[in-house]
Subunit: 200 residues, 2 copies
């Protein structure tokens, strides 16, 4: 049984959104599964000295153009949320809470959350809309709202982010295939090839 | 006659090296020509707050791995120069001096300089090796050494960099196709498609 792909992403990352639409199909074509691993890039930015791409001079306006152009090419619905950068804390905590109960539900939630944030430009930056989304999809009930405030749930996310940073993850999307790291949606073609050939 | 592609690059940029090997073929497949435009990213970094990618925490080590992996995939000779970041001043000045006499010679020089810097890892960070390279290829004689110290030649490069920054260029490679900007070697597939379809 070949190892699953590790798919790291930040819910505030628009290129992570593109990746979230493709990663399962990409893996399945090669008989692989995917472990979804949301992280918070804010913790990484302290190490790399970076900040949110869309807020950077020159690079931000270009990235907006590149995102809209790439979305059209992929025929992916795309709308930048009006509240930016996105606060990914509640969505990320909800993901791991769901994951520890049912990884399939957590994946469904992650896809739905990304579609809400970048497909429709909704503000998912706090607990109420996150809980509402999970409830609307039948993934959780009111217990999720309480869970998002629990220290153990907060610690679960923090530990996941710390482990990712310790593993060298510094961007979104970031995919590790049999130990080989690939950063960026623009490397998905290389991932596809790597999975075909076992490397080069 | 369709407009040429504007190909901006920094001689210190390894992804610019990959681009330099492909841009003419890419343009020619679509009946286009290329205007080569070396810039100095140091001037851009003052605006974007960035620094050389390979010197950044986490991102630098990953980029080295990505470069070597991508070079193997492209079957491109690749060796990072031991002196890094590369000082691109002399090579860039030499380019524009050649360009104002014979653009074809300047392109030949640019390809040769990139091959020296990133194909063989040579230090081209000062005037003597730059002049030697141009002389060895029959592109210039000893007059180039004197030219590299002329205020007018220095100003020619500075003006080119200022014009690029004013035009929104902030990375290497950076290609403008009929007004549409594309940043990064990883966007060459999109450029190819854009040239085929006229956009999407």
């Amino acid at each position: 049984m070949p190892a699953p792909l590790d798919f790291y992403f930040d819910f505030s990352s628009p290129y992570g959104y593109f990746a979230s639409r493709e990663i399962e199909g990409l893996a399945a074509r090669h008989g692989r599964t995917v472990v979804w691993r949301p992280i918070l890039l804010g913790a990484v930015f302290k190490v790399t000295g970076q900040g949110p791409l869309l807020l950077q001079p020159l690079r931000g306006p270009y990235a907006t153009r590149d995102l809209e152009r790439t979305a059209r090419l992929l025929k992916a619905p795309f709308r930048l949320p009006t509240v930016f950068p996105v606060n990914a804390l509640a969505a990320s905590r909800a993901f791991y809470w769901l994951h520890d109960r049912d990884p399939a539900k957590a994946r469904t939630f992650a896809r739905a959350a990304f579609d809400a944030i970048f497909g429709r430009g909704e503000d998912l930056g706090s607990a109420p809309p996150v809980v509402a989304l999970a409830k609307a999809r039948g993934l959780a009930g009111d217990e999720l709202a309480a869970a998002l405030e629990e220290p153990a749930v907060k610690a679960r996310l923090k530990d996941a982010v710390d482990a990712a940073v310790a593993a060298g993850v510094f961007g979104s999307p970031f995919v590790v295939v049999d130990g080989e790291p690939f950063w960026g949606h623009d490397r998905f073609a290389q991932i596809d090839r790597w999975l075909s050939t076992g490397g080069w």
